[in-house]
């Protein structure tokens, strides 16, 4: 949001998200919610009370079939509704990938713009909850690469609300990935009035001088807490939360790196072939003349993600990883 709004509330990420859904549903009767168990609120309670408020014609429990959830949403969108589909875990998106990549993302193109798919697919993603290899994956790299698809990831309660509204108002399919380990966290105040966070605008979460950390999702918090620790070492990090990977706000990121001359790219997903590669490659290219050191890329080890919390920790990056990397980089 450009202007700071008048009043604020303290909400968890999932509450703010739900507020966003509720306000949009009240605004536009074409919006429907569909997904597995959504009428009772879904596993993470993102759609709680929506059926009670908007009635059974607006909130639909789907059969246990993810390709259907997306394919039916595409059809409903073609016929004039605005479906907000929930896929219960992002890992299940692989079961709907054919419909997402080959159908939703290409509909505008192949019909010369005759048919649009204004649909939102919401999915909780990422680890940190000990949910095991097929319930903890970060999937953004798979989808940000697909022409015709937008990919959005909120890291704060306020953004969850502002971005879901923007996603719903977008004329094209948007994949909305929710860092599930933040659902119950209150992180930052949430404006009470109607506001939208436009897709494709990164935000600087912390201003600093020594190095820029480019990150998103659950790693924003890790970066902020690492920055607190590092501040005592006189290492001053600038932290950028991308918020949307496609469209990508290169300007904010590149401007910052031009200033700090050092960059760390951080995500929870596996490092090899992850979205961080795109960021690091772009920064390395566009800031070639100003970089004082190679761009540091931090991500998970190249392994499935174990369920046991102790094991999970050995695979996923966190604030400590960033602290080590930043010390190395700035020293």
């Amino acid at each position: 949001m450009d202007q700071p709004p008048a009043s604020f509330q303290d909400l968890s990420l999932v509450e703010a998200l739900r507020d966003g859904l509720r306000e949009e549903m009240a605004r536009d009767s074409r919006i429907i919610i569909l997904g597995e168990d959504v009428s009772m609120g879904g596993i993470f309670q993102a759609t709680r009370d929506l059926r009670a408020q908007f009635g059974s014609q607006r909130v639909w429990d789907m059969p246990l079939a993810e390709s259907a959830i997306v394919g039916i949403s595409i059809g409903a969108a073609l016929a004039g509704l605005i479906p907000v589909a929930e896929v219960q875990f992002a890992d299940y998106l692989f079961g709907a990938m054919r419909q997402i990549v080959n159908e939703a993302a290409k509909m505008r193109f192949r019909s010369r713009g005759d048919w649009l798919c204004p649909l939102v697919i919401r999915a909780p993603y990422g680890g940190g909850l000990g949910a095991g290899p097929d319930h903890s994956q970060s999937v953004e790299a798979f989808f940000a690469h697909v022409p015709g698809l937008k990919v959005v990831i909120p890291a704060t309660a306020a953004d969850a609300k502002g971005l879901i509204k923007a996603a719903i108002r977008d004329a094209d399919p948007v994949l909305f990935l929710e860092p599930k380990r933040l659902y119950q966290q209150s992180n930052g105040p949430v404006p009470t009035d109607d506001y939208v966070v436009p897709l494709g605008q990164a935000v600087i979460r912390r201003v600093g001088q020594d190095a820029t950390v480019i990150t998103y999702g659950a790693m924003v918090r890790e970066a902020l807490s690492a920055a607190e620790v590092l501040a005592t070492d006189d290492i001053d990090l600038e932290i950028i939360d991308l918020r949307s990977l496609q469209p990508l706000d290169q300007t904010t990121m590149l401007t910052s790196v031009h200033k700090t001359r050092r960059a760390i790219v951080l995500h929870e997903d596996a490092r090899f072939g992850g979205f961080g590669a795109e960021l690091a490659a772009t920064i390395s290219e566009q800031c070639f003349a100003v970089l004082d050191a190679p761009v540091v890329r931090i991500g998970a080890r190249h392994s499935p993600i174990p369920a046991h919390p102790g094991l999970e920790q050995t695979i996923l990056p966190n604030a400590t990883t960033l602290i080590q990397a930043a010390r190395y980089l700035v020293s």
């Binding site: 079939a65 394919g71 949403s73 409903a76 073609l78 016929a79 192949r110 019909s111 010369r112 897709l199």
Partner: protein
């Protein structure tokens, strides 16, 4: 003509008589159906010729599928009901109003092709005004879109329906199951038409499923399953109208299987068993026999179509190739996604 052919013909004529009465079709109605069958056949033949001359790219033929497709078209509210066809549905597209020129512009991928303007290979149908949803080249994905459209229509309490088409091979895809399951749970207004020609590329039905009829699959969903003879256009119209009426009035979905004849190896004018396997020839013979068509009218009709095709061919060949660099770029993908990366960026 053998005695068996004679007898078979007599049976078919009798069935057709019955259907025309039930359907309340006038002579004009019958002639329009015949016109559409011929238009489908002759356009397909023309495309085959253009393929042989390497003007059109290789692709499927709709030979034998004409009655299935024209029959279904006759059950629809054109421009209101939603259609989700597959690559073989040339006859359907012509019957609902695409012109031969539009077909040939699409075959040649010209800039003025409103179907995809060269973005897709030919026969991936699309028409905003006719409510034909742009088709991908993937099997069975459209069945879920059809269910989704019918779902939206039900929510909006509208009476339009969705009709989608696929081959018997495509029914092996998981999406087909998920679509039928969802449609039946909510008794949606959708008709799933399976044009069963017994083969999927080189794979015969027996390696595709263990049941004799695709319509047997309807039982898994508690939905209506119907098998109809695809050589008999009036039987198709009758079955399709039933399915559409049921869909339109809240009776739920139908799986309508249309058995497509195998193309006979060689067709000669006097080969009546071949005539019996050819839905176009069969209907022509029936109308001639019943006096609803004269040989002169038949020939005039063929000439008219041929000259329309000649003209269409000329115009299509003269039409410009598409040019992405120009006005079409914004529909490529959403504007933002185009910005991202530039080919050969250095």
């Amino acid at each position: 003509m053998g005695a068996q052919d004679q007898r078979q013909r007599w049976v078919v004529w009798t069935q057709m008589d019955a259907h025309r009465v039930t359907l309340g079709m006038t002579r004009d109605d019958l002639r329009r159906v015949y016109l559409h069958l011929q238009l489908a056949r002759l356009t397909d033949d023309r495309i085959t010729v253009l393929r042989e001359r390497e003007i059109c790219p290789p692709g499927p033929s709709s030979w034998g599928h004409e009655a299935a497709q024209v029959g279904c078209a006759n059950a629809l509210l054109i421009g209101q009901d939603y259609l989700l066809p597959y690559y073989r549905d040339l006859g359907l597209m012509l019957a609902i109003g695409l012109s031969p020129l539009e077909i040939l512009l699409n075959q040649l991928g010209r800039a003025t092709d409103r179907i995809s303007g060269g973005r897709m290979r030919p026969a991936q149908w699309n028409s905003k005004v006719l409510r034909v949803i742009s088709a991908s080249g993937l099997m069975a994905t459209q069945t879920l879109h059809a269910a989704g459209i019918a779902f939206a229509l039900q929510i909006a309490q509208r009476t339009e329906i969705a009709m989608t088409f696929l081959g018997e091979g495509a029914t092996s895809e998981g999406d087909f199951h998920e679509a039928l399951n969802f449609a039946s749970i909510h008794r949606l207004g959708v008709v799933f038409v399976c044009e069963n020609n017994g083969i999927a590329l080189s794979t015969p039905q027996a390696r595709q499923m263990a049941v004799p009829y695709v319509a047997d699959r309807a039982a898994a969903y508690g939905m209506t399953g119907i098998v109809v003879d695809g050589t008999n256009v009036l039987a198709v119209i009758s079955a399709a109208r039933d399915a559409v009426a049921q869909a339109r009035h809240g009776g739920g979905p139908t799986l309508l299987e249309i058995i497509i004849p195998r193309r006979p190896a060689a067709v000669s004018i006097n080969d009546h068993s071949a005539e019996l396997a050819d839905p176009v020839a069969l209907f022509g013979a029936y109308l001639l026999e019943r006096g609803d068509l004269t040989p002169e009218l038949d020939r005039r009709l063929a000439r008219q179509i041929a000259s329309e095709l000649d003209e269409a061919e000329q115009d299509a060949l003269a039409a410009p190739a598409p040019d992405l660099a120009s006005e079409e770029a914004p529909t490529l993908a959403s504007p933002q996604t185009l910005d991202g990366a530039i080919r050969g960026e250095v």
